[in-house]
């Protein structure tokens, strides 16, 4: 060991630049892990410790109503408050019904999905429970709240600006982008007041209309105390004076385990805005001094359980647990592990490159060592020791640099790290794994090669490596391995769980190894094909580049693979992201604009008025009847994808249309691409009687076939009455999810299993839709959506029905009917911008990895120059200019870049394609066919970066070689030989 350490230290001293470059790369890799992991640690600590307390506010515990079964508890035309408590119940539903699929555990502790926010479907707390809480001697205060969905904006004095989003009630089915409306009978603010005051909860609706807004919402709306807020509900428009702003509790995630945030108003005002009596969905409880919170909670839970209640109880402990779970679900820990994995790979290949080059450069030295008596084991030990040394240097340096970075950022932005920046155990452990694990793995092959050096090689001139006969067989094996992943993702019949395991455990590793095996052939091909072109470009003799890469194949491979990791991951992220986006982006099937008339639609005789609106193509207006019935029978609950109820066929949105106008003729308004069945037979069946067209992936994932019926139950129909709609066609309907989400097509607010089409007469009759509630239209080129919406609004106001029946509530009077226009292009743009931001966020680590691993290219080019010093000296001696040498070295770097581009593109596209293909089985939306989308315009960043980095890597070695005197090159080269 002593001799090996001596040899190592001597070599490090002899080649300090190589050690420095490699260590620097490992330091940077470790730094990435430190940053990501420490950020995760800070987030976890911060969110759980501080935000849990914030979420409860001044209360000790919260009792929240559970959810009812999906599809129920939702009023047509009334604000269904799908995510909040206190929405109207369906006819016949008991307010405190046992938990359905989407509700919390009966009498259970609150947590994600079952916490104070209430479950989907709008559960209600029974008055006796509320009364018992108020009467309990231990309770100091029981503050009852209700929650519903509205649109909120600051009142704009400009009368022309009437079509802003906040001027319309919220879209059913959309998550609350606006602050929810919270009716509260609390006498004090639930959270700390940041400005202004709390309101008097006893204020009547016809008195002063006052409200208090949560801080973040106030910031987003740019609303200050004293401003007038415009609140739009389904029934009308209300102006509320903002009298206070309260601290906004941190989000512990959607659906539960978080505090209440929104626009707080007195209960009477909430009722007036909603148009129906408010029902309590949540009670915030303050216990008297000295009361035992845990005992109270336990007793209450037992009481609720005994009554088979779906209500949940949440105290501080339950909130913390819920937040931890949600944060974990957010994937932040996954991000930390992913960063570690990428850093591990980067460190592995950087160290591999260095060690591999070392073995190649020191071939004669290794032979001499073997000749004078080092065993194979000792020679291998030398290599492992060097790898470990580089790793430890990089790890310790990375920890130091990472810690320093955290300190600097914590000092500059203390709110990011409120508990200070520190290196946690996991941080240190993960960086050790990345650095040391990578080093050990990277040392294996170079160590093996070193042991293959024969002592006899010391006796003669440096042997020339024979042509590698293994390259082609290795490439063939590589291609076979690469083919495994697409087979798993697209071809082989397999159960979803087994497929997921096969993909992760076999397909992905096989693909990675396959590209590794393919790499040598790619190097040789690039050398042969691109070499002459690059030579011509740089004014060099093509034969000078003939074996510039393959002369030291291992060196080239190490550098190119290191760089390919970053580029490949970047391209795969982009390809996967935009391929995944495709089925969610509304396709060409969707007409230009969708107009919803709420709350009660338009009479049929007003459809001509719609057609006459300037900008609308009169012959391209499709009057529709839309409802969201429940699915029952065999098909119910089928379909969907991984995880929970998303995508399950519990309900569908049925769009009733004139089938000839919609689907017939040479230029149908809704041109559908049939995947199962065909247009002619579907049309014929639709005209004969009930029939329904559904999305292709819904048919496939549910196991249904053409001709199978969908048994549907009208939301407002008699219980148990079903209508049967046989499936007449299954079509490609990309983007239907977002179309239903953003336009109000989800009449009952909850997620839906499919967007379907049926004849309008059947839909009207079967689901009691008396009027045209939606219109799809095509607009003239250049027509203004704002102008068309304004015209539609005038029609809605002139012909809307004021009073309507809201199930479970009774008659509700709407003060102002409205028309909401959604342009399909707006949906596409909205989705694209969100996707761009998300995909960019995911692409950052790969780009950072690319940057770090470019150091491997610097090392490789420098090593190449070192090993060719004699040759370069000869070239100078026979007349090559300095600039000629520089071009030669740049040419090598360019060829390395071409290899990286080829490998990175191949790996990236394949990985992204297979990943998006697996989404059919792993996505909660289930079965979506994801076409391969290569976002060429976005790949330029990674491709360009790789090219630039390779060129930059070559600059120093090239300049150094160009500046050297010919004699020094000859001498140095001869000494090395």
């Amino acid at each position: 060991m002593k001799s090996l350490i001596r040899l190592l230290l001597a070599d490090v001293k002899h080649r300090p630049a190589r050690t420095a470059l490699t260590s620097l790369a490992v330091i940077l890799s470790s730094c990435v892990v430190v940053w990501v992991v420490s950020g995760y640690d800070a987030l976890m600590g911060q969110s759980i410790d501080e935000n849990a307390a914030k979420a409860l506010g001044r209360f000790d515990l919260v009792v929240a109503a559970g959810g009812g079964p999906p599809g129920q508890g939702i009023g047509r035309g009334a604000n269904a408050a799908a995510k909040g408590a206190g929405g109207p119940a369906a006819k016949g539903e008991r307010p405190d019904a046992p938990a359905g699929k989407a509700g919390g555990r009966p009498g259970g502790r609150g947590g994600p999905g079952g916490g104070p926010g209430g479950g989907p479907g709008g559960g209600v707390l029974p008055p006796p429970l509320i009364a018992s809480l108020r009467e309990d001697a231990r309770v100091a205060e029981a503050n009852v709240t209700s929650q519903s969905r509205v649109s909120v904006g600051v009142v704009d004095p400009d009368p022309e600006r009437t079509l802003l989003r906040h001027d319309r009630p919220p879209v059913l089915g959309m998550p609350p982008l606006d602050p929810p409306l919270i009716g509260s009978d609390a006498h004090e603010a639930p959270y700390e007041l940041e400005d202004g005051r709390w309101f008097d909860p006893a204020l009547p609706a016809d008195g002063a209309r006052e409200g208090v807004l949560s801080a973040e919402y106030a910031k987003n709306l740019e609303a200050k105390v004293g401003a007038d807020l415009e609140v739009n509900s389904e029934i009308g428009r209300f102006v509320v004076r903002l009298v206070g702003i309260v601290e906004q509790p941190g989000g512990g995630g959607r659906g539960g385990g978080s505090g209440q945030a929104g626009l707080f108003v007195p209960p009477a005002l909430a009722e007036a805005i909603n148009g129906y009596p408010t029902r309590a969905g949540r009670v915030n409880v303050v216990l008297k001094e000295g009361a035992d919170v845990s005992a109270f909670v336990k007793e209450l839970e037992e009481r609720l359980k005994s009554r088979n209640s779906s209500a949940t109880v949440t105290d501080l402990q339950a909130l913390k647990e819920g937040m931890a779970q949600v944060l974990s679900q957010m994937g932040t820990s996954t991000l930390a592990y992913s960063a570690t994995g990428v850093a591990l790979l980067a460190a592995l290949f950087i160290i591999f490159t260095t060690l591999s080059m070392g073995v190649s450069e020191r071939g004669r030295e290794l032979a001499v060592l073997r000749a004078v008596g080092l065993t194979r084991g000792q020679v291998a030990g030398m290599v492992f020791l060097e790898g470990l040394f580089l790793a430890l240097l990089g790890w310790l340096g990375g920890l130091t640099a990472g810690w320093g970075l955290l300190r600097v950022v914590a000092a500059a932005k203390p709110d990011l790290f409120p508990q200070g920046a520190a290196l946690g155990f996991w941080c240190v452990a993960l960086t050790a794994v990345a650095a040391v694990g990578g080093a050990l793995a990277a040392s294996i092959q170079p160590a093996w090669r070193a042991t293959r050096v024969a002592p006899l090689d010391a006796m003669g001139p440096t042997p020339v490596a024979p042509p590698s006969r293994w390259v082609v067989p290795a490439a063939a094996a590589g291609l076979a391995l690469i083919a495994i992943n697409p087979l798993i993702a697209f071809v082989l019949p397999m159960e979803a769980t087994a497929r997921a395991w096969a993909y992760a455990g076999l397909g992905c590793p096989a693909m990675a190894i396959g590209f590794l095996l393919l790499a040598p052939l790619v190097v040789q091909v690039v050398e042969k094909v691109a070499g002459p072109a690059v030579a011509t470009l740089l004014g060099l003799q093509p034969r000078m580049l003939g074996s510039i890469l393959s002369a030291n194949l291992w060196r080239t491979l190490g550098a190119t693979i290191a760089l390919t990791i970053g580029l490949g991951l970047y391209i795969s992220t982009q390809t996967w992201g935009y391929s995944m986006l495709a089925p969610f982006t509304p396709g060409d099937w969707a007409p230009d604009m969708l107009v919803g008339f709420e709350p009660s639609g338009l009479p049929d005789d007003q459809v001509p008025a719609v057609k006459a609106v300037p900008g609308v193509i009169p012959g391209r207006v499709l009057a529709m009847a839309v409802e969201q019935p429940q699915v029952v029978g065999k098909a119910a609950g089928t379909g969907g994808g991984a995880g929970g109820t998303i995508g399950k066929l519990d309900n569908v949105v049925v769009v009733g249309v004139d089938v000839d106008l919609a689907f017939g003729g040479d230029d149908p308004m809704i041109p559908l691409t049939y995947v199962h069945g065909d247009r002619d037979s579907a049309l014929a069946k639709l005209k004969q009687g009930r029939g329904i067209i559904i999305p292709d992936h819904v048919l496939e994932s549910s196991g249904l076939k053409l001709g199978d019926p969908l048994e549907l139950v009208a939301p407002d129909g008699p219980p148990g009455a079903t209508v049967s709609y046989p499936i007449v066609g299954a079509v490609s309907l990309p983007g239907w999810h977002w179309m239903t989400k953003m336009t109000g097509l989800r009449r009952r607010a909850v997620r839906t299993g499919a967007l379907t089409f049926a004849p309008v007469a059947d839909v009207r009759r079967d689901f009691h839709v008396d009027r045209t509630n939606f219109v799809w239209l095509d607009a003239q080129p250049g027509a203004s959506a704002d102008a068309i919406e304004k015209a539609m609004q005038a029609i809605a106001e002139a012909h809307g029905v004021a009073a309507f029946q809201a199930p479970g509530v009774g008659e509700v009077v709407s003060k102002r009917p409205y028309a909401r226009l959604t342009a399909t292009e707006t949906v596409r743009t909205g989705i694209a911008s969100r996707a761009d931001a998300m995909i960019w966020g995911m692409s950052q680590i790969p780009l950072v990895t690319l940057l770090i691993t470019s150091l491997a290219v610097v090392d490789a080019v420098a090593s190449s120059v070192r090993s060719r010093r004699w040759e370069l000296g000869v070239l100078r001696a026979v007349g090559a200019t300095r600039w000629g040498l520089v071009r030669l070295i740049l040419a090598e770097s360019i060829l390395i870049a071409v290899v990286v581009l080829a490998l990175g593109f191949g790996f990236g596209v394949m990985a992204g394609w297979c990943g998006s293909g697996m989404s059919r089985y792993l996505s909660p939306f289930g079965g979506m066919n994801t076409p391969l989308v290569i976002p060429w315009a976005r790949l330029w960043l990674g491709v360009g970066s790789a090219l630039v980095l390779c060129l930059l890597a070559a600059i120093q070695p090239a300049v150094a070689a160009g500046r050297a005197e010919p004699l020094s090159l000859l001498k140095a080269g001869r000494a090395a030989a």
Binding site: K13, H14, E365, L369, G373, L374, T375, M459, A975
Partner: protein, 263 residues
């Protein structure tokens, strides 16, 4: 014998050595049933034309390559019976090698290069401190012991290599064209050194060379042709390198000698 510089060498015997190499589709016999004994304590030169098998004979004797047939006995040990690890350790301890290209480790100093076999053997350098000092003195490079190879002349590098070959007190020193990279004056100095060391220590020294000017320093010359031992002859009767060269030419150009016919 100069104390501390070494002890008597062991016998080295090659019996029926045959070594074949593949060159493309053909098989070439570099050595054919060669049998030779290198007398203990003697300085022997192995000569032959390019491709005669002399280097292969040396490589086999050093354990750097395995014979296809026959055996090599060094100091009573049959090298063919040793595993790779055992052979390496044996070579480390009992065989000293001097290369044409010096083959010093560029990152180590002269002294570190010399003590490399000792340290590799797991022994402390202090155990050979005296021997190293004496070797440096004897070889006239004491003032260069702290320098790295790139700071040494060719002759100095070869002296360091000789010191390295002697530091473990080997049974035999094998030198492959030790003067091949040196000028004639330096080369002669190295040959004198090897001769003196052989005489002083009684060590077996075998030198492969194609130069009569080197061979004339040896006690005996073994001549190979086409992989076979052609003949052996003592050098004492030759007054200088020219005379030896003339005899060598006669031997190589002549009909099959009795020695070759016998083997």
């Amino acid at each position: 014998m100069t104390p501390g510089v070494g002890s008597a060498g062991g016998p080295v015997r090659v019996e029926g050595a045959t070594k074949r190499f593949r060159q493309g589709t053909e098989t070439v016999e570099a050595l054919r049933d060669a049998t030779v004994e290198f007398a203990p304590g003697a300085f022997t030169a192995v000569m032959g034309a390019s491709g005669s098998g002399k280097s292969t004979l040396l490589h086999a004797t050093a354990g750097l390559t395995r014979l296809d047939e026959g055996k090599v006995l060094v100091d009573g040990t049959d090298l063919s019976t040793l595993s790779d690890r055992a052979l390496t350790i044996f070579r480390r301890r009992r065989i000293g090698l001097v290369f044409q290209a010096f083959n010093l480790i560029p990152s180590l100093t002269a002294e570190q290069n010399v003590t490399l076999p000792v340290v590799t053997d797991g022994r402390d350098e202090s155990s050979v401190r005296d021997r190293v000092d004496r070797l440096f003195d004897r070889l006239g490079i004491a003032h260069r012991r702290g320098h790295r190879p790139d700071a040494l002349s060719g002759g100095e590098q070869q002296r360091v290599a000789i010191a390295r070959a002697l530091v473990t007190d080997p049974a035999v020193v094998l030198a492959d064209e030790p003067t091949g990279s040196l000028d004639s004056v330096t080369g002669q100095a190295i040959c004198r050194l090897l001769k003196e060391l052989c005489a002083e220590t009684g060590r077996t020294v075998v030198v492969v060379t194609h130069e009569p000017a080197v061979a004339v320093w040896a006690d005996r010359v073994v001549v190979l042709r086409d992989g076979r031992i052609l003949t052996e002859f003592p050098t004492e009767s030759f007054s200088d390198a020219h005379a030896l060269a003339a005899h060598y030419q006669d031997v190589v150009a002549g009909p099959v000698a009795a020695g070759e016919a016998a083997s």
